[in-house]
C-alpha cells in the first residue's frame, strides 16, 4: 500500500512555464495507472516516490514506512526506499553482462545465495541462455524482461513503471503486458504505471488517475473513467471520442427521452437527470458505436447527413471520416454493402451518447 500527498512547485524558467505538482493518491495491490499527457506531472510523481526528486511538502508512506515527510523533514534516499523502478529505456548497465546486472541488484546477499537467486530469476524470465551477454547483444524483449528481473531481485515493496511500452512495436507490447500480468500474479505488490496510452491503461490497470497540469482530475477504474470522462478535456485526452457541441432542446423524464441539437441536426437521446432544457453540453460518442447507412436526399429524422471525406478499410473494420472531424467505425462487411453510395446518414443510438456539461 502506497499513499502519497505531494506538492512541488517549479518557477517559470527561460524556456519553461511555471509548473506546480499537487496530487494525492493511494495505490493498493494491483496496477494503478497514472494517465496523462507528457508534462502533466505523472513521471515527476513517480520520481518523488522513488526519491529522485524532493517534494516541497507532503508525505509519502509505503506500508507504514515514511519515505518522505515535509513537516518532519524526512527524506529517505532512493537506496532506502525499496522501490523497484523500471525505466523507459530499461537502463541496464551497458558495461555489465545481464547476469552482472542482476547480481548488482542482489549485492546484499551472500555469494552462494546470490548466484542461486540470480540463476532462478534468469530462468524465471527465460533469460538463462543469454546471461553472459551485454545489453546491446540482447533483443528488445530480453532487455525488457531483464530490467524487470533486475528490479525484482532487489526485493522491492512497490513497482514503479515509467512508460515501459514506449517505442515498442505491437508484438513486444503484447509480450510486455503478458509479463507484467505474470509479475503481478507471482510478486504481488502495488505497481504504479505511467502511461499516456489508453489501451495500455485498459489492458493493465486496476485503478487509474488522470493527470492534467500537475493535478489529478479524475480517478476510478480505467473502464469507468473511459465510460464517463469527467470533463471535455479528459475526454479529449483519451483520444477515442467524437466530441460534439450540442444543445438540449427537450427533456422528458416520463418517457426517458430527450432531443438534442447538433449543428443543423436534431437527434434523440435518453433523459439526462441533472441537465436543464436549453443548456449547452458536449456529447461523447465512441466511433465504434455509430451506425452508418446510405441515404438519398434528406437524412431521415433523428440522423445526421454528414459528408464522407475519407475511408480506411482495415481487415475487419472500416474507419470512416466525415466532415467536422466526425469518425465512425463499422464492420468491413457493412461498409462493402454500401461502398457505392454517395450520401450517408449517421445515426447515434441514444445509449451511445455520453453527456458532459460544457
Amino acid at each position: 500500500m502506497i499513499s502519497a500527498r505531494l506538492r512541488k512547485a517549479f518557477p517559470a524558467g527561460p524556456d519553461s512555464r511555471a509548473f506546480t505538482l499537487d496530487v494525492q493518491l493511494e495505490a493498493g495491490a494491483g496496477v494503478t495507472v497514472l494517465f496523462g499527457p507528457s508534462g502533466s506531472g505523472k513521471t515527476l510523481t513517480l520520481d518523488c516516490i522513488a526519491g529522485f526528486e524532493r517534494p516541497d511538502e507532503g508525505r509519502i508512506l509505503l506500508n507504514d514506512a515514511i519515505l518522505f515527510d515535509g513537516a518532519t523533514r524526512v527524506h529517505l534516499p532512493p537506496q532506502a526506499r525499496r522501490c523497484g523502478y523500471v525505466f523507459q529505456n530499461y537502463a541496464l548497465f551497458p558495461h555489465m553482462t545481464l547476469r552482472e546486472n542482476l547480481e548488482f541488484a542482489a549485492a546484499t546477499l551472500k555469494n552462494l545465495e546470490r548466484r542461486k537467486r540470480v540463476s532462478e530469476m534468469l530462468e524465471r524470465f527465460q533469460l538463462h541462455e543469454v546471461g553472459g551477454r551485454r545489453p546491446h547483444e540482447l533483443s528488445g524483449g530480453q532487455k525488457q524482461r531483464g530490467s524487470i528481473a533486475r528490479a525484482l531481485l532487489a526485493s522491492p515493496r512497490v513497482l514503479l513503471l515509467d512508460e515501459p511500452a514506449q517505442g515498442l512495436d505491437a508484438v513486444l507490447r503484447q509480450e510486455l503486458y503478458a509479463i507484467l500480468r505474470e509479475v503481478q500474479h507471482d510478486f504481488p505488490m502495488p505497481a504504479l504505471l505511467v502511461t499516456h496510452d489508453l489501451e495500455e491503461a485498459l489492458e493493465l490497470g486496476d485503478q487509474m488517475h488522470v493527470f492534467r497540469q500537475g493535478r489529478i482530475v479524475q480517478s476510478g477504474t480505467p473502464q469507468g473513467v473511459m465510460d464517463a470522462p469527467g470533463s471535455v478535456e479528459i475526454a479529449r485526452q483519451m483520444g477515442i471520442y467524437n466530441l460534439l457541441a450540442a444543445e438540449i432542446l427537450a427533456l422528458d423524464p416520463g418517457r426517458n427521452t430527450s432531443l438534442l441539437r447538433v449543428g443543423d441536426w436534431e437527434i434523440p437521446g435518453v433523459y439526462y437527470p441533472g441537465h436543464l432544457k436549453g443548456s449547452h453540453v458536449t456529447l461523447c460518442v465512441v466511433p465504434g458505436q455509430v451506425r452508418v447507412r446510405p441515404r438519398e436526399g434528406r437524412a431521415p429524422a433523428g440522423t445526421m447527413g454528414l459528408e464522407l471525406l475519407h475511408v480506411v478499410a482495415g481487415p475487419d473494420r472500416a474507419r470512416l471520416l466525415f466532415a467536422g472531424d466526425f469518425r465512425a467505425e463499422i464492420a468491413r462487411g457493412d461498409w462493402e454493402g454500401m461502398a457505392r453510395a454517395e450520401e450517408f446518414a449517421v445515426e447515434i443510438p441514444p445509449s451511445a451518447l455520453r453527456l458532459i456539461k460544457s
Partner: protein, 222 residues
Amino acid sequence: MPIDWFPLWLSLRVALLATAIAAAVGIPVAYLLANREFRGRDILDAAVTLPLVLPPTVVGYYLLVVLGRESWLGHVYEWVFGGPLVFTWQAAVVAAVLHAAPLLVKSTRAALESVDHAYERAARTLGAPEWKVFLRVTLPLARRPVLAAAALAFARSLGDFGVTIMVAGNIPGRTQTVAVAIYDAVEGGNGDTARWMVLVVSAVSLALLTLANRLTPRRIPG
C-alpha cells in the same frame, strides 16, 4: 657530442607520477563538483582552475612559500623524508600536478556529468550506496573520456617550464626536465640537442592528443 636523454626520462617519470596524483585527487574533486550541492562549490571550481590562468611565476612563488624550508609543510616533509622538497625532482612533480589537475578535473567533471542519469538512478533504486554507484556505474561508463582527460593531463605536465624552474631548479642530471633542458640547450648554443628534444616532445604530445581524441566518444552509450 652525444645527446644526454636524461631530461626526457625524468620528464616522463615526473609526468606519469603527476598524472597519477592528479587523478587520485582530481577525480574525487570532479565527483564533488559534478554531484554535490555545497557552499563554496563555485569557489572550489574557480580555485581548481586558477593554476591554468595564473602566471607560472605566481604559482611557483606560492609553492616556494608553502613548501619552502621555512614553511611548516616544508618542515613536515623534511622530517618525513629526511631532506627538503624544493630543488629536487619531487618538487617538479608537485609543479606538474598543479598543471595537470585543472585540466583533469574540468574534463572529468564534464565526463561524469555526461553519463545518462538513468543508470545512476537505477543503481540507487537497487540499493547501491553512493560510493558503489560512482565506482561501479558512473566511472566505468565515463572511463573513456576520463582516460582522455588523463592523457591530456599527462601531455600538459610534460611541458611545464616556469613553475618547475622556480621550485625544482635547473640541476642537470637531477632536476633538469626536458622543457628546461631545451631552454638550456638553446641558450648554450647546443642546437643538436635542442632540435632532437623538441622533435621528441612534439611527437610524444601529438601521439597523446591523438589518443585522447580517439578515446573521446561522440556519444556516451545509452
